[in-house]
């Protein structure tokens, strides 16, 4: 188990190294940050001064080596735009993104699994057909459109929900979270639904497909032959087998939400990491972009690790091997 975790961490360090090179080169190719940072009226001398202050006057490989050197001691550079440590900027916004992504994933999971299992077990009923038709909608409607529609209906027309922003936060274990107040829920509901919709559709379809597969297994018939109640057959024998693939996919989708909730955060002006990333890209704020991607990679690796451990808990046949 320990070997497994260490190996995973080493793999992720490698991914981070490769990724940082790509980002450095990529941003270098896109454009010159100076063009954005310096005002058009700035003289050549001013520009050179800014470049020297940010280290942009040196060749790319040298800039990269400097970055690597300081990254090892936990310094990821200062934002070109804000002049603050890039990592600090990201960590400051992370709780907002985390709570949005987790809320959306939990919604998708707790709505998707029961609907999917129902659609699988009663796959010929009208209810199941309706669920499946709905899940196709959930899949195919683009996120930004759903977000705008929700704002149009619930914020503009009905006036039930705020259209943008995050509710007041309270400090919980050192994190600024908004989901512990009613007002916070008010704010998080629309963006969370927007994000949850397509994930929910995915979980429904997966749970349905697995349920249909599992319900035909001999062990389900054998459970019925033992005289167990239908509740126990479905709730324990079928559900526990469905959880293996569903938990895996849900974990991976959570990672994707944390990393790429960008569009939804922008539409709802949610002050999360995604919005920061978009702003940083338009301003070619390289330190922030690199730091953001490092955070995301580590988060994805961590989620994968948790999913793998969960997998071995859910399916006793899976052993986390360090050796082979």
């Amino acid at each position: 188990m320990l070997v497994f975790i260490i190996r995973r961490l080493l793999q992720s360090a490698l991914v981070v190294a490769v990724m940082s090179v790509l980002v450095f080169v990529g941003i270098y190719l896109i454009g010159d940050p100076l063009a954005i940072l310096a005002s058009p009226e700035a003289s050549e001398i001013d520009r050179e001064e800014i470049a020297r202050a940010l280290g942009l006057d040196r060749p790319l490989w040298e800039q990269y080596m400097t970055f690597i050197g300081s990254a090892f001691v936990g310094e990821f550079g200062k934002s070109f735009v804000f002049g603050q440590p890039a990592m600090g900027l990201i960590l400051e916004r992370m709780p907002a993104t985390l709570e949005l992504a987790i809320t959306a994933t939990l919604m998708a999971f707790f709505i998707g699994v029961p609907l999917g299992v129902y659609a699988g077990l009663r796959h010929e009923s009208a209810g199941a057909q309706a669920i499946m038709a709905g899940s196709i909608l959930g899949f195919s409607l683009p996120n930004f459109w759903v977000g705008l529609m929700l704002i149009m209906i619930f914020a503009v027309q009905l006036g039930w929900m705020p259209a943008s922003g995050r509710g007041p936060t309270t400090e919980v274990f050192g994190l600024q979270l908004s989901i512990f107040s009613a007002k916070g829920w008010h704010h998080i509901l629309l963006p969370a639904i927007t994000l949850a919709l397509s994930k929910c559709a995915l979980i429904i379809r997966l749970a349905r497909a697995t349920a249909r597969e599992v319900m035909l297994m001999d062990y389900v018939k054998f459970a019925r032959a033992k005289g167990l109640s239908e509740r126990r057959v479905i709730g324990v024998h079928i559900l526990k087998n469905i959880m293996v693939p569903v938990a895996t996919v849900t974990g991976l989708e959570l990672g994707a939400l944390i990393a790429f909730a960008v569009i939804t955060e922008t539409i709802f002006s949610w002050p999360g990491m995604g919005k920061l990333l978009i702003d940083s890209i338009t301003q070619l704020d390289r330190p922030v972009i690199v730091a953001y991607l490092i955070v995301v990679v580590f988060m994805l690796v961590a989620i994968n690790l948790v999913v793998d451990i969960l997998y071995s808990v859910l399916d006793p046949r899976v052993r986390l091997g360090g050796a082979q």
Binding site: D218, Y219, K221, A225, V244, R317
Partner: protein, 338 residues
């Protein structure tokens, strides 16, 4: 023995099990009637698709939709369980009527520990504490020959071999001391030495507890060593039934004769193995009259009407217009059916 001798443990009358499909109704079981008494072992023999397994599932109400019992009755100790409410059926399943499945690799839930799967079976039918249920599970595992049952209970199914898993499945079937066990080819997937041990133990358990047993199989040698009576099914119907000694040694129906002749071993080395010519009729397109006539060397115009079961000698019945004279199977296999 728990029943009065007049009421058999199980009495099946004119059972009809249908599977509606787009192309028509498959009559998987078509008018099957039989009885099993307490302590008796009935071998139900037939080839794949003959309806023998479906008969077993019909009794327990465990048919996969769209399959359903379309007619007839299943009387368990006199109570019709085809018409019974689902709740009543659930009470009987696993408690009074237990079932053992064919493939031990598939019958135990892979993600639940053996103790979970055994304790839930006890507690589904008895209001007992978990530790009492665990004690019952340990005792039953020991009875089916599993060493160190206390530790084995904490294992997952994949940590057992196939033979051990089938023993666990048998132990689960025995947990609530049922009156009837339906075993659907439980030793087919196991190797011969394990099969022998399990057959021996099942026979002993039935004799000791007075449990009636229906053993579904395609393997005549298993029936020969285990059962008291045998019932041969072909294309959804019973074609011959009687005591094991009579049916296996003096078969009367040409199909039974062919089946016995097909067992390798009776043929001398170098000779071609015997096989019944042709194939079983397609289930959607059964011929009128005797269903075996297309493969039978004795068929004539009379066979275009369905023969009735006839008692050829005491308690030995066959469904044939031209039953073969009673003589030893060994001689029959030579000339065979053709």
């Amino acid at each position: 023995m728990t029943t009065a001798p007049s009421v058999p443990t199980l009495r099946v009358e004119n059972l009809q099990t249908h599977f509606p499909t787009r192309d028509g109704i498959i009559r998987a079981v078509d008018g099957v009637s039989f009885e099993v008494n307490a302590g008796e072992i009935l071998g139900l023999v037939g080839e794949s698709g003959s309806g023998k397994s479906i008969t077993g599932f019909s009794i327990l109400g465990l048919l996969d939709p769209p399959g359903h019992v379309a007619g007839g009755s299943v009387l368990f100790k006199g109570e019709d369980i085809v018409a019974a409410a689902p709740q009543r059926l659930r009470q009987l399943r696993g408690a009074r009527i237990a079932m053992i499945f064919q493939d031990p690799m598939m019958t135990l839930n892979p993600v639940l520990r053996v103790d979970t799967q055994m304790i839930e079976a006890v507690r589904a039918h008895n209001k007992v504490s978990e530790s009492a249920a665990r004690d019952r599970a340990i005792e039953t595992l020991r009875a089916v020959g599993i060493a160190a049952p206390e530790e084995r209970l904490k294992s997952y199914p994949h940590q057992f071999s196939g033979g051990m898993r089938q023993r666990v499945a048998i132990a689960i079937a025995l947990l609530n001391k049922p009156d009837l066990i339906i075993a659907d080819e439980p030793t087919t997937a196991l190797d011969v030495t394990i099969q022998g041990q399990i057959l021996y133990e099942m026979r002993k358990l039935c004799r000791e507890t007075g449990t009636a047993l229906i053993w579904i199989t395609h393997d005549l040698s298993v029936v020969a060593g285990l059962a008291d009576r045998v019932m041969v099914m072909y294309a959804g119907r019973i074609v011959e039934t009687g005591s094991v000694a009579e049916v296996l040694e003096q078969p009367r129906h040409p199909y039974t004769i062919g089946l016995i002749g097909s067992v390798p071993g009776g043929t001398a080395r170098g000779h071609k193995l015997f096989q019944i010519p042709g194939m079983a009729p397609p289930p959607l397109n059964l011929p009128p009259g005797c269903r075996f006539k297309n493969r039978c060397g004795f068929a004539d115009a009379a066979c275009d009407t369905m023969p009735e079961m006839a008692e050829l000698s005491p308690a030995h019945w066959a469904r044939c217009h031209h039953p073969r004279p009673a003589q030893l199977a060994a001689n029959l296999a030579e000339g065979g059916v053709a």
